[in-house]
């Protein structure tokens, strides 16, 4: 047990576990997850699909019961202060299909009516850039507009804590950037935001702190910069050779400034501290082995690299690692 009054904590979670029955026994969707979210921060749960992010956030939202573990939200617990809690939470679920034949404004007024105190629906429409669509039926909105409406419905009760579950999944790049701006503005207003995502760029841009979640556990936590720094090198050099079947990544780890080497689907990736030292050494090594370089790129290391470093897998299923 921990003390109930932790004013600087928006969410405190210890040993969270959620077990589902399945055909072959059971599945632990969340398997001993610990994390603290401070008031006023934008916190990201980053992990691949099926990591347990949505189960975790829905337990925080009071929509699912935990199998075991301690959860306090805004210093309160589900089952004791539900209405008070609900009044202070804004929630955007992973997938909600709002009534298609209601207008944007009507939908917001409906959600506003559930809260004792809140924002003017017109003001919220402005904040998410939907003022022009006030009278448009929800069924006529684009994917990005619908997602902004979902955020607006979460905002209309003027919540202290905002939950956004995969807010930009399936959106085009422009809609994603629009939504990022909205979320960043909300964060700057001092609201606490918990966001789940499997996009590492989203977590890097929006979140002050990130918990990397895999198989129902937090495997790393910190600011994006800290997590990237934990790799030991901030740069990634990716290259491919035309006849490189015999080249093992481990053989390159002794090169100067190289911290780690791994196979990628289309070549080899090196995590390096100083590219201007590592690259000449790499070229020399390849030449000595008689290998032809067909591609070489460098980039800054990302949370994706952190995830690959920790798990050997990529965040998204479509980027298959062959290591």
């Amino acid at each position: 047990m921990f003390p109930s009054i932790q004013n600087d904590l928006a969410i405190r979670c210890q040993g969270l576990r959620k077990r589902y029955k399945s055909r072959s026994g059971h599945v632990d969707a969340v398997n001993g997850l610990d994390l603290d979210v401070h008031r006023g921060e934008c916190f990201g749960l980053l992990g691949p699909n099926g990591a347990g992010k949505t189960t975790t956030i829905e337990i925080f939202e009071g929509l699912l019961d935990a199998t075991s573990g301690e959860v306090e939200v805004l210093g309160m617990r589900w089952g004791q202060n539900d209405d008070t809690l609900r009044q202070q939470l804004g929630i955007s679920l992973q997938e909600t299909r709002f009534p298609e034949k209601l207008s944007v404004y009507e939908t917001l007024v409906l959600f506003r009516s559930f809260y004792r105190q809140g924002k003017n629906p017109a003001e919220v429409m402005d904040a998410v850039g939907l003022a022009e669509k006030a009278k448009a039926w929800v069924g006529k909105l684009s994917g990005g507009q619908r997602q902004r409406l979902a955020v607006a419905c979460a905002l209309v009760g003027n919540p202290e804590l905002l939950f956004l579950d995969e807010p930009t999944t399936g959106l085009d790049p422009q809609s994603r950037r629009q939504l990022w701006e909205i979320i960043r503005d909300l964060g700057e207003q001092g609201r606490t935001i918990l966001i789940t995502t499997h996009y590492m760029d989203e977590a890097e841009r929006l979140c002050g702190r990130v918990a990397v979640v895999d198989r129902g556990k937090v495997i790393a936590m910190g600011s994006p910069a800290e997590l990237i720094a934990s790799l030991g090198g901030e740069h990634v050099v990716e290259f491919a050779v035309s006849n490189g079947a015999t080249l093992a990544p481990a053989e390159l780890e002794n090169l100067p400034a190289v911290r780690e080497a791994r196979n990628e689907s289309s070549g080899i990736a090196l995590t390096v501290t100083e590219p201007h030292i590592a690259i000449p050494a790499l070229l020399k090594e390849l030449q000595a082995r008689g290998l032809n370089l067909v591609r070489l790129t460098t980039r800054h290391a990302s949370l994706e690299d952190v995830f690959v470093h920790l798990t050997g897998r990529h965040l998204r299923d479509d980027e298959v690692s062959s290591s």
Binding site: R97, P99, L102, E106, S113, F114, G157
Partner: protein, 344 residues
């Protein structure tokens, strides 16, 4: 500062969604209207069948033909015997009368209209010849409004619609919201769950009123159905029926996660009532062994009560035990549904 009332907003949302969905409006109002008009036309009272009689040429033939022609429903022709026999064989006439000291009737007993013509023609001729019927009797024709098939049908259609509307209007709407995860989203707000349920049931009661007007109005305007009952009593009865079926609708929807599931459940509940509850014909026609089942169905009781109140002008108090059965059918599913309801 604007005040927001959740129940009002939820009800408004229901109303808007319904009115903006042309299909829902059609199935609720247009379909029963078409059904009433179609069945009304199909079962409208036909003019009385004519009786076609041929009389074989004979010296007494004009006299017999004259007597028969006094009856407006008889069409009488006089021909040679062979022609008369041909007419009978081809179905152009139902009976051939061969005059003589003994009058002979030629007819095919396998044809009901032939048998009927035989009876009627014989009666007419016997009476004309001076027969006295020892038993005094009189005939009264029941073709006035209130006793025709369409009069029977209209309250039945109303009952059927109250059932279908209650089940679909509540069950389908809830499962649809569950499928779309809207229910989950609403539960994530501080919305009171009772507000939500009342808005759905309230919406159903509001949509029921035009339904009542459309069906009864069609009956009154097109088919001259005589509404003898008190309008308020009819409205109250329909309200009780609508609430009762809303309870059942809530129950079928309380756990279903897919539209297919809830559609199947609703058809399962409605099918026995379509068959047994006296929409198209009286439920009294079923064998005694089935009567306990037939009589325990809510739609049976609603239809009895609707017919009594609309057609006979019965009071609601005279229908109180039927109302009680309806109330039980509404209340028990309602509380079970509340208990088992799957919000997430």
């Amino acid at each position: 500062m604007t005040k927001y009332h959740p129940l009002k907003e939820l009800s408004l949302a229901r109303l808007r969604e319904f009115l903006r969905e042309p299909e829902a409006v059609f199935w609720t109002y247009g379909f029963p209207l078409l059904l009433a008009v179609g069945l009304g036309i199909a079962f409208r009272n036909r003019p009385v069948e004519k009786i076609y009689v041929d009389v074989v040429e004979h010296e007494r033939a004009p006299e017999i033909a004259h007597v028969l022609k006094q009856n407006p429903e008889m069409v009488v022709e006089t021909h040679g015997e062979q022609e008369c026999r041909d007419h009978l064989r081809l179905g152009k006439s139902s009976l051939v009368v061969i005059p003589g000291t003994v009058v002979t009737y030629l007819f095919d007993p396998a044809r009901p209209e032939s048998e009927l013509a035989h009876q009627r023609v014989n009666d007419v001729l016997q009476r004309a010849a001076g027969r006295q019927d020892p038993l005094k009797s009189q005939e009264k024709l029941v073709t006035e409004p209130g006793a025709r098939y369409i009069d029977f049908l209209v309250p039945g259609l109303l009952g059927m619609n109250l059932m279908g509307g209650g089940l679909w209007g509540v069950g389908f709407v809830i499962v649809d919201m569950r499928v779309k995860k809207l229910l989950k989203r609403l539960v994530a707000t501080p919305m009171k769950r009772t507000d939500f349920l009342w808005s759905i049931i309230g919406g159903r009661l509001v949509f029921m009123i035009p339904e009542l007007v459309v069906i009864l109005g069609t009956g009154v305007l097109f088919f001259k159905v005589a509404v003898r009952g008190n309008v308020l009593a009819i409205l109250l009865l329909c309200l009780v029926g609508a609430i009762s079926f809303s309870g059942l609708g809530l129950l079928v929807a309380c756990r279903a996660r897919r539209i297919e599931t809830v559609s199947g459940l609703m058809n399962l509940i409605m099918l026995p009532m379509w068959l047994l509850s006296g929409i198209f014909f009286s439920p009294d026609r079923f064998p005694d062994a089935l009567q306990p089942l037939v009589q325990s169905l809510p739609l049976t009781q609603l239809n009895y009560a609707l017919r009594a109140v609309i057609l006979e002008g019965a009071s609601l108090t005279s229908q109180s035990w039927r109302l009680l059965i309806l109330a039980v059918w509404g209340a028990i599913p309602f509380f079970l549904a509340l208990r088992w309801f799957r919000w997430n």
